[in-house]
Amino acid sequence: MVGEGILKGMVETARNFLGSYVEKERLTTVQYPEERIPQVEAARNFPFLVYDGPNWQQGMRCVGCQICEKECPPKCIFIEKSKDKKPDAVGKPQFYPAVFNIDISVCMSCQICVEVCPFDAIKMDVEYDLPTDDRFGGLLLNKQKLSKSNEYYHEIHPTEASAVDGALAEERAKVKAAADAKAAAAPAKPLAPATAASPVSPTGETK
């Protein structure tokens, strides 16, 4: 018959219409603010700063070397290096970032800062629900807002965080062994420029 195809199509749409009220699995829409799809482990959005231990100011891994700031393609990172040194999580005196800002309205989530960081201090977060009614101040994250604990890092990227922890422990053990050996060999020289673990970046070249 003429128009047979139209009838077939209309039966199909009617089945879809009625079926969507009966079968829940037909409706694939996720009702976003109430329901969320669990994210895959490799998900990433904006960077955050990792700190060890309970205190975010003391345990911050970042030493303010400013490599990420220089590498950042859209230039969304702003770092001001400290003048003094403070003991880090393992008690070693280190420089620290006096100011560390990331403008997430500029950040393009490329992860280059994470790739270049020699201290595993900056990692990618999975938080994507960051709306704000202040589009200038609200999207400029400061040091405190960026700091998140290593436990949080384990929570969002377990595999990656374990690997990082392992590498860091190995590195620290190596450094400790080297320092112990040096201290034993030449106790007269306390200020031996220690190791690969703290590459001294040229200070005063901040821009």
Partner: protein, 391 residues
């Protein structure tokens, strides 16, 4: 009691008219008739937009709007506020006056068509003795407003959309009128009120609707196809064609003028649906004799909502036609069938009632359909498509 419920609006008007001085009575009577129509049908438009979006969503296995108010039913209010507060941009080179008048004219023309629609028993604004003619005459004003919109915008997409719209509307106006001629032949009247009254009787429990005759059935089908094209709805929404010419003749419209176009388009759709109900589905008459206790205006709106639902269903099903397919359908199928349908109506009128009459009339419809089927089959060739420029 049933009588009062049926005539409640008519009685209310008479009661109100009692308080009006004799001098102001003609004006007051007109206002009291017109204002309910001006309220009821835009309200129906608001409900239809949300129902359409929800229905289309369900057809595509989505939820549709469900955030604004209970189950998303305050969506039209949000849409209205949005379109009212949006900036109204008029192109610099546009013809300012015509650009403004086009949507206004569309809405006015759409509202004028309701003047002759009998919404219930004794509920019609004017009972013109050439009501059907008036309806189609007013309906053709829509074309003018569409062309005003397309031409005054000074945009090639607008003009293309308007050209398409004009070509389509003129092509489909012919079968639209011819499909309704059969009813006028049978009823012997151009008055919408008397056409409905002729269908309001019952044989046993069955109504005397013109739909239940072979020519009425064919006529209703042709009328609905032509009405879909006339109101620029999918699958005949080429003038809009958002994937090809963005939005056709209303691409340069924003804010409330754009909303007025939508309002006009939907009002036109309701009006043609109302005409289809008046001509073929017995207007305000109940579908069975034992249901006559339900007020007549309720039956009219039930039928109207059913047709609107059908329009939404069609829109969710069929893809948009190509321009040549659209024209071929109008001139090569709908128009000859409408002419043939007039012949059937004549034969029906002069034959004795009975099964033979039905068989003869249905055969006259079936034969061209079978021939068309075979012709289409013969023409259909499957081959590997070659592209001249793409490789």
């Amino acid at each position: 009691m049933t009588q009062e419920a049926d005539q409640i609006f008519v009685l209310a008007k008479h009661w109100l008219m009692g308080y009006v001085p004799a001098v102001a009575q003609p004006i007051a009577s007109a206002v009291l008739s017109i204002v309910p129509v001006l309220i009821a049908f835009p309200l129906l438009f608001a409900i239809t937009t949300v129902l359409e979006r929800k229905g289309l969503g369900r057809i595509q296995n989505r939820y549709g709007p469900n955030r604004t108010g209970p189950a998303g039913f305050f969506q039209p209010i949000a849409d209205g506020i949005k379109s009212l507060t949006k900036e109204d941009i008029v192109p610099l080179t546009a013809d300012q006056a015509v650009h403004f008048l086009a949507p206004v004219l569309l809405v006015v023309a759409a509202f004028l068509a309701y003047a002759v629609l009998p919404i219930g028993r004794n509920m019609v604004i004017v009972n013109l003795n050439a009501g059907v003619l008036f309806f189609f005459a007013v309906g053709s004003v829509v074309e003018l407003s569409v062309f005003m919109a397309g031409w005054s915008s000074r945009s090639k997409y607008s003009l293309l959309g308007a050209m398409r719209a004009i070509a389509q509307m003129i092509s489909y106006e012919v079968p639209l009128v011819l499909a309704s001629v059969v009813v006028i032949m049978e009823a012997g009247s151009l008055s919408t009120v008397s056409i409905v009254e002729r269908q309001a009787g019952y044989t046993g429990i069955w109504p005397h609707w013109y739909l239940f005759t072979p020519w009425g059935l064919v006529g209703f089908f042709l009328f609905m196809v032509a009405a879909t094209a006339e109101s620029n709805r999918s699958p005949f929404d080429l003038p809009e064609g958002e994937s090809e010419i963005i939005a056709g003749y209303y691409i340069e419209y924003s804010g409330f003028k754009f909303a007025l176009f939508f309002l006009g388009e939907y009002l036109g759709m309701f009006a043609t649906s109302g005409m289809a109900i008046t001509l073929f589905l017995g207007g305000w008459a109940a579908p069975f004799s034992f249901l006559t206790w339900i007020p007549s205006y309720i039956w009219f709106f039930v039928k109207l909502l059913t047709l609107i639902g059908f329009f939404i269903w069609i829109r969710g099903t069929l893809p948009r036609l190509r321009m040549d397919q659209l024209m071929n359908l109008a001139w090569e199928f709908i128009l000859p069938m409408a002419l043939l349908n007039m012949l059937i109506a004549g034969i029906w009128h002069f034959m004795q009632p009975g099964v033979v009459r039905w068989l003869v009339c249905l055969a006259i419809v079936a034969v061209p359909c079978i021939l068309l089927r075979q012709g289409l089959k013969r023409r259909k060739k499957f081959q590997v498509r070659t592209y001249r420029y793409a490789d």
